[in-house]
Subunit: 110 residues, 2 copies
């Protein structure tokens, strides 16, 4: 879980999606590749990603600025992944770009 974020404000890209049934290994490989590639981009802060057994998923990537998110969107390999997502993998998805204004962490709830 992404806990050590810097002090707000920073940015979040909320990607909510529903996978088609029977999506193959290509999807998992690309998801791993994109997570590794995102880490190398300027302004990348961290990521949280959860998908349940029904194929519903939320992935939130955190960035220093909105400009960093726009640059990541334009990454050539990421664009290939976006196109495959749109045409092959997702039934439905949404993307929201947000400014994180406040945060609070409880790393060791008792």
């Amino acid at each position: 879980m992404f806990i050590n974020s810097p002090k707000p404000p920073y940015y979040a890209a909320i990607f909510t999606s529903e996978l088609k049934t029977g999506v193959n290994d290509d999807y998992s490989e690309m998801a791993e590749e994109m997570a590794a590639l995102a880490e190398k981009q300027p302004g990348y802060l961290g990521i949280d990603s959860v998908r349940d057994a029904d194929g519903l998923g939320i992935t939130i990537s955190y960035w220093q600025s909105e400009e960093d998110i726009l640059q990541w969107k334009q990454n050539a390999r990421h664009k290939v992944a976006q196109k495959l997502g749109l045409t092959q993998w997702y039934k439905t998805f949404s993307l929201r770009i947000c400014k994180v204004e406040r945060d609070r962490f409880f790393p060791n709830a008792k």
Copy 2:
């Protein structure tokens, strides 16, 4: 999946959490009660919630204003749930309050 949000700006409360192992039915009942109660609060827009088999979860509730989120935080029954979460259910959690600046929806990806 929450798709029909109004035009930005609006607000998101991102709650990321890791459940303790062996958490009982009380948790599921309270989670359902809170989802139903949140719907009745002023400014509530919608919710997306995913938890995987390892107990990692992301719940994002959407609101018209930051004030709506503050009011929901102060709800008496919600405060009971918050305390139980802190003391009994969660290993770790974080809360981020965000202003949604842009969004895009693909309700019928092909």
